[in-house]
């Protein structure tokens, strides 16, 4: 079953008088539970593609289905709820709410969903924090955590809502190689434990080995699927 189906996706940016064709006709299907890496040089359109899939940018043309919903036709409220209920996001930086500690950051999306009791939320968040190995850092605020620890919190938060997909745009770009590897290993583990679909982008060929499959992208087009 495909969790993502993309057909003829185009994305243009107006840049002054010129138009930047960031995505020029992407066709892509991703299976549920997959761990996919999108690889390509800088400027090839990786971020743009992830943003469109993640409902934080809109397509210029084409069709994007996430969990059987055509997201190109949703209004702001629906898009927001889509992000909350179906998608987990891991950014390079600025992942966490500075005034909340690690545990509270992980609880945050669940509190927005208002589906569970406080107790259930706390339990679920603690479980995730535990799984990403931050049991001893529950009460630490982002400023008191290292870069790698922050990415771990971000992963826990992305997973806590049981989303259909987790998107990570170059999650290791700001980390040293050892920490970066740990994070990728963690994503691999979490993909197995929680059976969540993971898509991460990278321009580093070294990280490809962590992915189940790789999508190569260049100049806004998919080169070949492997």
């Amino acid at each position: 079953m495909n969790i993502i189906e993309i057909r003829n996706l185009k994305k243009n940016y107006a840049l002054g008088k010129t138009t930047v064709y960031a995505l020029r006709g992407i066709d892509l299907a991703i299976e549920k539970g997959d761990l996919i890496s999108i690889v390509g040089p800088s400027g090839s359109g990786k971020t743009t593609l992830l943003n469109v899939i993640g409902c934080i940018d809109n397509a210029t043309e084409g069709s994007v289905k996430v969990s059987d919903r055509e997201i190109t036709k949703l209004n702001d409220r629906q898009i927001t709820d889509m992000r909350l209920h179906h998608i987990g996001f891991i950014f390079q930086t600025f992942n966490l709410i500075p005034v909340l500690n690690a545990l509270e950051n992980v609880e945050f999306p669940l509190l927005l969903m208002k589906k569970q009791s406080k107790n259930e939320i706390r339990k679920r968040a603690e479980k995730l924090i535990d799984e990403v190995g931050l049991r001893d850092y529950l009460k630490h605020r982002p400023a008191e955590l290292s870069g790698g620890q922050r990415q771990r919190v971000a992963i826990a938060r992305a997973l806590v809502t049981n989303p259909d997909i987790v998107l990570a745009d170059e999650p290791t770009a700001n980390l040293d190689s050892v920490t970066g590897e740990q994070i990728l290993n963690l994503m691999k583990d979490m993909n197995r434990i929680e059976q969540t679909t993971f898509i991460f982008s990278t321009h580093d060929a070294n990280v490809l080995k962590y992915a189940n499959s790789v999508v190569k992208i260049r100049d806004g087009l998919i080169v070949k699927e492997a």
Binding site: T47, N51, G54, I56, D57, D76, R77, T80, D81, R83, L84, H85, F89, F91, Q92, T93, F94, N95, L96, I97, P98, V99, L100, E104, F108, P109, L111, L112, M113, R157, T161
Partner: protein
């Protein structure tokens, strides 16, 4: 909700500097607004007490022929039109609800003839049946020398201000009948002249009627009076019994029988021919109850001197007095706040019945003073509004900047699934908390300050300042309503100030946050 307050509170603590800036603005704004409210409120109450309840009443009835509404302190030379049918007006007023009490008075200007031969002075005269007047305006003045009127008595009560003014013009120091010169009440210049000070116990007024029907009239001074409040302003008004007033202005008196023709010697005196003061005061008859001078050359027959015929005016009964001429009827309301409504109601009634009288609200009747009071109040109001404005501008600026500085954080929250409403509420929550604490503290501090200021009992002799004070003493006042007003003002400031920054914060998208990376 819990989460929101937690985030809002921690954000406040995190951005302490900015929070403090906004907090201080809210504090100062709320503080000054509260004090402003207190001063305005105190002024209102003071003006009500010291003008309306002491002097003008809420509504002033004037003749329809009266052009200007400013009947109390009008330009010199202009006269107030007479009301000759008070009885009719009186029975009409009885049919209007919520009028508490009223009193008819005479009010016009008079020259104070200088018996020493110098230039004449000028004063306003208020002609009243004193007993009746005091029932409507009780305890508004006290005699600092001499006494107030006895029932039915003729004479004049001279305010301290008028005495001083007359002294400055004529160098004559007026004292009450039977009293000596009291140096303690004198001001410096008078004291310096003490050795050759000319003092007199009666005044010769020359009324300034509309036509040339005025009469010189000598009135014994019964007392030197001081108004309990706004003595500077009310000091321009000498109080005369109504019948003497009518004679002086040349109106038809209800009972003008008790007049006494001046002897020839006295005529000479008035003409300034006789300067022998000892002679004047040695004549017992001169300082009698009431001495009417003969008409001046221009006067008409209606007020020609009457021969003295027996009984004093003390015998003239109320109805007799009301047959004569007045100028104004001063009406006090049960509920002062209903002024405009009642003016309308009274005017309707008056018009329908065609008595030739119309109603004017006190602020108009008091003219410049009323406008000045309104002006001072407006200035205060504008000041408060200005604070409002400045506070809003600064807060809008600071908050908008704060919103933009937090683009990545807010964009990330949105990316994780926070709706616009969440962002607005969070943002509003922060401002509301600041407003509640700092603004609340400002209101409390303002309240305490107002109480302390009221306890200080600052006084002033300056007319302008007295208007601001609403009396001689500064007595700012905060009622529950005023505090509620301050809270509402604070809320409005907060709401207005937060709208734009909230809009800024709401419109931040996850993309904005990513673009920042």
């Amino acid at each position: 909700m819990n989460l929101m307050i937690k985030i809002a509170w921690r954000n406040i603590m995190r951005h302490r500097g900015k929070s403090l800036v906004i907090g201080v603005i809210l504090f100062v704004g709320a503080f000054l607004m509260t004090i402003g409210n207190g001063v305005i409120s105190g002024m209102d109450r003071g003006l009500q007490k010291n003008i309306v309840n002491s002097f003008t009443g809420d509504i002033v009835l004037v003749s329809e022929k009266q052009e200007s509404d400013e009947v109390f302190i009008e330009m010199m030379g202009k006269t107030v039109e007479p009301i000759n049918n008070f009885k009719q007006v009186d029975s009409l007023l009885k049919t209007v609800d919520d009028l508490q009490k009223w009193v008819p008075i005479g009010k016009n200007g008079a020259l104070v003839l200088n018996e020493e031969g110098g230039a004449p002075g000028f004063t306003f005269l208020i002609g009243v049946d004193f007993e009746r007047y005091q029932k409507v305006f009780p305890n508004t003045m006290k005699a600092v020398e001499g006494r107030l009127f006895n029932p039915g008595e003729h004479g004049v009560l001279v305010p301290t201000g008028a005495r001083k003014q007359m002294f400055e013009v004529s160098n004559i120091w007026f004292i009450p009948e039977g009293c000596g010169v009291d140096t303690t009440s004198m001001f410096k210049e008078a004291k310096e002249m003490r050795s050759n000070l000319v003092s007199k116990q009666s005044i010769v007024f020359m009324g300034m009627g509309a036509d040339n029907t005025s009469t010189d009239i000598r009135l014994g001074i019964k007392g030197i009076v001081r108004y309990n409040a706004l003595n500077q302003i009310w000091g321009h008004f000498g109080i005369v019994d109504i019948e003497s007033y009518r004679n002086c202005i040349g109106y038809i008196a209800a009972a003008d029988k008790a007049s006494l023709v001046l002897s020839d010697a006295d005529k000479k005196l008035l003409g300034g021919e006789d300067t022998d003061l000892d002679n004047l005061f040695s004549v017992d008859g001169m300082i009698t109850e009431n001495v009417f001078a003969p008409p001046r050359s221009s006067t008409k027959t209606s007020t020609a001197p009457k021969a003295a015929t027996g009984p004093s005016l003390a015998d003239a009964i109320q109805t007799d007095l009301d047959d004569g001429t007045y100028n104004l009827v001063l009406v006090l309301l049960n509920d002062h706040s209903k002024l405009d409504e009642k003016v309308k109601a009274v005017n309707q009634r008056l018009k329908a019945s065609g008595v030739g009288v119309r109603a004017v609200p006190w602020k108009k009747a008091i003219g410049a003073i009323g406008s000045m009071a309104v002006l001072i109040k407006s200035a205060l109001f504008v000041f408060v509004m200005f604070l409002f404005f400045v506070a809003i501008i600064i807060i809008v600026n600071t908050l908008s900047m704060a919103a933009l500085e937090r683009t990545s954080e807010i964009g990330m929250m949105r990316a994780v699934g926070a709706r616009k409403g969440f962002i607005s509420t969070m943002f509003f929550g922060e401002t509301a908390i600041l407003s509640f604490f700092f603004g609340g503290l400002g209101i409390v501090t303002g309240y305490v300050t107002v109480r302390v200021l009221a306890l200080c009992k600052f006084t002033s002799d300056n007319d302008m300042v007295q208007l601001l004070f609403g009396g001689d003493t500064f007595h700012p006042l905060l009622s529950g309503g005023d505090i509620l007003l301050a809270v509402i003002q604070l809320t409005i400031v907060t709401l207005i100030a937060v709208i734009y920054p909230m809009q800024v914060a709401r419109s931040i998208t996850p993309l904005d946050a990513i673009a920042r990376e």
